[in-house]
């Protein structure tokens, strides 16, 4: 499948900024299951961009812009060819051992409620079956919320709500899987099964299964990701893999606007 | 030099100078109040507050206009930004931030001044006040000496620049307030002279002896004004402080290779002072003139910050 992606991130500031430095995780990598045919990051002001790779193996871009700046817009566009693999990843670059992904972060701590939920969901199913069961259970428990996620909401607090954003669902999966001693991580990327436009990139999870390797689980859909998903970045949690980590030198507040459009090409 | 270091050195100079000035002001006022044959009382202390532009703050703090309270307010009030205690504290903070740029001797003088306030200043009778003021003056003199013994580099130039800018402001303020206070309604300049009050001004800028050297014809207000405004021989005069400002900026321009707005402003002022005759100033309105000096000095301060990227 050929997916076309437009992802626009725009910051407006109430006072001009002297400098902006941002770390962007916005570039997908090639693997056996996805081929990046075309990819471009455009910035609407004079900026210097430098390519890097982070400790998790993600491709990152450092963006440096000199002010005064009232705002900055980063427009990402590209095309990725995907193939179906029933969620199992092949040929990804993995610099860190799976066991690293057992550690909790402040937003992915599993409290007793999450742990009980996970144990009840998986019963005594075999590892891969257990993870599918967990994925479905999360999907069924929450109505999917469409609002922009709260970037500081921890899994335990998200679990207490009736609705959950894809981000929160994915973090819940990660927290629950780790509570079952299964290495798990957060994935940021794109998916064309959401309604045409959305206000944020998509998020799902991956878990390590001994004989298979990394396997994707998308609790928003209740299924494993297929050719509809484009993986961009992985990390221990949503914050660690978010498309932009930024800092600015200047007064005032900022207003963030994000627009994502993913469409399948015939 | 780091921009932050330069800013700290400049502010260090300003705060040391301010602490020294307030110490002299308190000392002179105390002499006027206690030692003169006619105790000056409330008026003297009110004018001390007026010079430092702190009368509203003092009133707001609920202080009574007594010698003890005003002296304590100006010397050791931790809640008052302009007190010597706070000035010395800010000077020390800035000195700490640039500890590596200072000689041990210079640092020890600042730290020494700060340690004077280490034990809480409880009651201030005239004796302890004078002793404290003397100690502060001794430490600031020690600092000034230490700065003169340091390398003549950007470090000392920024400190001197800060001191000169602060000194310009302080002297202009002192003259402005005292002059108004001393001039009873309906009197023309050169009329009745309140000897003690004019002596107080001279004492505050350490110019009693200098005055006698420079002017043979006794204590006359016009001469005092002339001395404080335009006599380059007196280190605390507006003219001398302006010259020092220009010297420091020129030195910085030479070592950093950049000149700017601040240099132009300072040189313009220096040239104007050279042209100005004190008699004309008095005739045209001393108050307006001094207010202009103070405002211009504030602009210069902003220009310095821009030129050396303090922000």
């Amino acid at each position: 499948m050929r997916l076309s992606i437009e992802h626009r991130t725009s910051y407006r500031f109430t006072a001009p900024q002297a400098r902006i430095v941002q770390l962007l995780r916005m570039t997908p990598r090639n693997s056996h299951d996805q081929t990046v045919a075309e990819w471009h990051i455009a910035v609407d002001c004079d900026a210097r961009l430098r390519e890097h790779r982070d400790g998790f193996g993600n491709r990152t871009t450092m963006l440096y812009a000199e002010g005064p700046l009232d705002g900055i817009e980063i427009a990402v566009s590209g095309e990725v060819v995907t193939s179906t693999s029933r969620g199992v990843l092949h040929g990804t670059f993995e610099p860190l051992p799976p066991a690293l992904y057992l550690r909790a972060t402040p937003t992915t701590v599993a409290d007793a409620a999450i742990e009980d939920f996970a144990r009840a969901a998986v019963g005594d199913a075999a590892p891969i079956g257990a993870l599918h069961a967990l994925n479905r259970a999360l999907h069924e428990r929450f109505a999917v919320a469409v609002e922009r996620p709260d970037p500081s909401l921890a899994a335990a607090d998200a679990f207490a709500r009736a609705t959950a954003t894809p981000r929160d669902l994915a973090q819940l999966f990660v927290a629950a899987a780790r509570a079952l001693a299964v290495p798990a991580r957060y994935v940021t990327g794109y998916c064309d099964l959401q309604d045409g436009r959305s206000a944020t990139p998509h998020g799902w999870a991956e878990a390590w299964v001994d004989d298979l390797g990394w396997v994707g689980f998308d609790p928003t859909l209740g299924e494993s990701p297929e050719e509809h998903h484009v993986r961009v970045a992985v990390a221990l949690d949503a914050t660690g893999s978010s498309p932009v980590a930024g800092s600015r030198l200047g007064e005032g507040r900022e207003c963030l606007e994000v627009e994502v459009q993913v469409s399948a090409q015939e | 030099m780091l921009s932050r270091t330069a800013a700290s050195l400049y502010w260090l100079g300003r705060y040391v100078e301010r602490a020294d000035f307030v110490a002299r002001l308190v000392e002179a006022t105390l002499r006027l109040d206690v030692l003169s044959t006619r105790p000056a009382g409330e008026d003297a202390w009110r004018s001390a507050l007026a010079v430092t532009e702190t009368e509203p703050a003092f009133t707001a703090a609920g202080g009574e206009l007594t010698r003890e309270e005003v002296a304590r307010f100006l010397l050791a009030d931790a809640g008052h930004r302009g007190s010597i205690l706070r000035c010395v504290g800010m000077a020390r903070d800035n000195a700490r931030a640039v500890r590596t740029a200072l000689s041990r001797e210079a640092w020890q003088a600042i730290n020494g001044a700060w340690l004077l306030f280490d034990q809480r200043v409880a009651r201030l009778d005239p004796g302890t006040t004078l002793a404290l003021v003397d100690s502060v003056k001794a430490e600031t003199r020690g600092f000034e000496g230490a700065v003169h013994r340091m390398l003549r580099n950007q470090t000392t130039l920024f400190i001197r620049l800060g001191q000169a800018v602060e000194r310009t402001d302080n002297t202009a303020r002192l003259l402005d307030v005292k002059y108004h206070l001393l001039l009873p309604a309906g009197e023309s300049v050169g009329g009745t002279v309140d000897r003690d009050q004019w002596t107080t001004i001279l004492q505050t800028v350490s110019a009693v002896t200098a005055y006698r050297w420079l002017y043979s014809d006794g204590l006359a207000p016009a001469n005092v004004i002339d001395l404080l405004l335009s006599r380059g021989e007196l280190p605390r005069s507006v003219a001398a402080a302006t010259e020092e400002t220009v010297t420091a900026l020129t030195g910085l321009a030479r070592s950093s290779g950049t000149q700017g707005e601040a240099d132009r402003m300072a040189r313009t002022r220096q040239a104007r002072i050279a042209r100005t005759r004190t008699g004309d100033v008095i005739a045209a309105g001393l108050h307006q003139h001094l207010q202009a000096v103070i405002a211009e000095n504030a602009h210069l301060h902003v220009a310095i910050g821009r030129q050396f990227k303090f922000a």
């Binding site: 770390l23 | 500890r99 640092w107």
Partner: protein
């Protein structure tokens, strides 16, 4: 409890008289009146206060900056003792460095099963964010402070490694300065190795690890959290002695993966940063997104090989408590030989045999949580009540992997000036080890901390600890004839420092 401790000057408790090599020091102690010692000690402390060698006590007003008490009686290492100690330190620091190269690179030590993988991968001190980055010249632990304790003439044990931002070196230098000024006669009696070249050695180390392409004169800076930090004096002192800029995070900017400092004449490129801030506050884009502190982009510049950071980010994994008990294995793995400096014997309760031993000997051992700190979750067997011991027994059985156990050690003592006169007090020791592109070197000296309370083993400055100068004697005979040094007054008359001269003869 009375542990019969080894005294480093007076020798073993059951022997009479000083260790023969230090008889002169003992005589000096006997012949110098306590009052005179006390006067000199006060003079040193007055100097420290004037210089502002203070540390801030949190929660008190700024006026209550404290100085760390200084003790006038030095501690002395004999030349051959020091030589053996140095060998052990070099070996250990080389192993720490090799470990860091490996653990953030290939991870051979995990693949070969020498360390349990979860010990590293699950440890918050292992920073996945910087995995794969190779610091310039592959040096990670440029400055190490290795905390040691001693129980006998040649019995040294490592208590803790400090491979992040070890502090205390300014005390080593200032204490020496004070001793030379106040007790010059001691330097006539003993040939003491100089420590004042430390700033030069450090600067040399910094320059040696500059990124390739920084040119002949790499620009080095010292990054401090600011002048409110409790160790600010040390930061400014070191920057000053090395003649480099003392910068705060706000003075640095990263542009195009290069680091610059903001100066009055514009930006100036920076090649080497000796940072005295924690990893968490280095770069908000990488470590602590909610933090406003730090230099955005610094890690990118570092990853691009454009700046050296001293010590390297991520070093915390090498000096973590949980790793400590594995240091003998780590040293063996990387050096191919046995560790020359032992650790304090440690039972890892995660191992069944060790757990059995610990449970059988709870009344003799100190039991600690590996992830605890500051004395929480600690059992001191010899002084514990039966109820406490039983509580720990239950905890150990329930979660054995969280605990380690160690014997209680009879820490050595050194004569120390206390109220009643000179009396033995327990000490520890932190030598400083520098690693640059051209190898590892040990500074001949260090920081001796002393527990001023009788019988106390706690040397922390926050809990009544003080410091001493640490003499390392040079090989060969004493400097001067012994007769000259025996009379304190002879030494004193040679003193040039104002007060000692006038009061010395009294």
């Amino acid at each position: 409890m009375g542990i019969a401790a080894f005294d480093e000057i007076m020798g073993a408790a059951d022997r009479d008289g000083a260790r023969p090599e230090l008889a002169d020091l003992c005589r000096w102690l006997d012949e110098t009146p306590s009052d005179e010692l006390r006067r000199r000690q006060r003079s040193a402390e007055v100097t420290f206060r004037q210089l502002g060698i203070t540390f801030a006590v949190y929660g008190e007003s700024e006026a209550s900056e404290r100085i760390i008490p200084f003790d006038i009686v030095p501690r002395v290492f004999l030349a051959d003792e020091w030589a053996r100690l140095s060998e052990g330190l070099v070996q250990r620091v080389e192993a720490i460095n090799a470990f860091l190269v490996d653990i953030y690179g290939e991870r051979r030590i995990l693949k070969e099963g020498v360390l349990p993988a979860d010990l590293i991968l699950g440890n918050p001190q292992f920073r996945p964010e910087i995995a794969g980055i190779r610091p310039p010249h592959d040096v990670w632990a440029h400055i190490c402070g290795i905390d040691l304790v001693r129980t006998g003439p040649d019995q040294f044990y490592v208590l803790e490694d400090n491979a992040r931002t070890p502090s205390g070196v300014s005390y080593m230098l200032e204490n020496r300065e004070a001793m030379v000024r106040l007790c010059p006669e001691l330097f006539a009696k003993f040939r003491v190795a100089a420590v004042d070249s430390y700033p030069d050695m450090l600067l040399e180390t910094m320059k040696s690890v500059a990124p390739r392409g920084s040119g002949q004169h790499p620009n080095c800076v010292l990054l401090t959290p600011g002048h409110y930090n409790s160790a600010y004096y040390e930061h400014s002192f070191l920057a000053d002695s090395m003649g480099i800029e003392l910068v705060e995070a706000a003075d640095l900017v990263v542009d195009d993966d290069l680091v610059y400092m903001r100066t009055i004449a514009g930006r100036v490129k920076v090649d080497v940063i000796y940072r005295r801030v924690d990893d968490d506050f280095l770069d908000p884009l990488v470590f602590r997104p909610e933090s406003l502190l730090g230099v955005p982009g610094l890690i990118a510049a570092y990853a691009a090989g454009n700046v050296a950071i001293i010590n390297a980010p991520g070093n915390g994994i090498a000096d973590d408590k949980a790793i400590y008990s594995y240091m003998p294995e780590i040293v063996r793995f990387y050096s191919g030989g046995e560790a020359k400096l032992p650790i304090v014997e440690t039972w890892r309760c995660r191992e069944p045999a060790a757990l059995r031993y610990v449970l059988d000997h709870l009344d003799e051992l100190v039991v600690k949580l590996v992830d605890g700190s500051g004395g929480y979750g600690m059992l001191v067997g010899p002084t514990a009540s039966t109820a406490e011991i039983e509580r720990f027994r239950a905890a150990l059985v329930a979660e054995p992997h969280r605990y380690i156990a160690q014997p209680t050690l009879a820490l050595s003592t050194v004569p120390t000036l206390v109220e009643q006169g000179v009396a033995p007090r327990h000490v520890d020791f932190r030598p400083f080890v520098l690693s640059g592109a051209r190898g590892v070197q040990v500074v001949p000296g260090g920081l001796t901390r002393v527990a001023l309370r009788e019988g106390s083993l706690v040397v922390n400055s926050s809990q009544g600890g003080g410091t001493k100068d640490s003499f390392v004697l040079m090989p060969g005979a004493p400097a001067m004839s012994q007769t000259m040094g025996t009379q304190a007054s002879v030494g004193m008359t040679q003193t040039l420092g104002g007060m000692s001269q006038t009061l010395g003869g009294a």
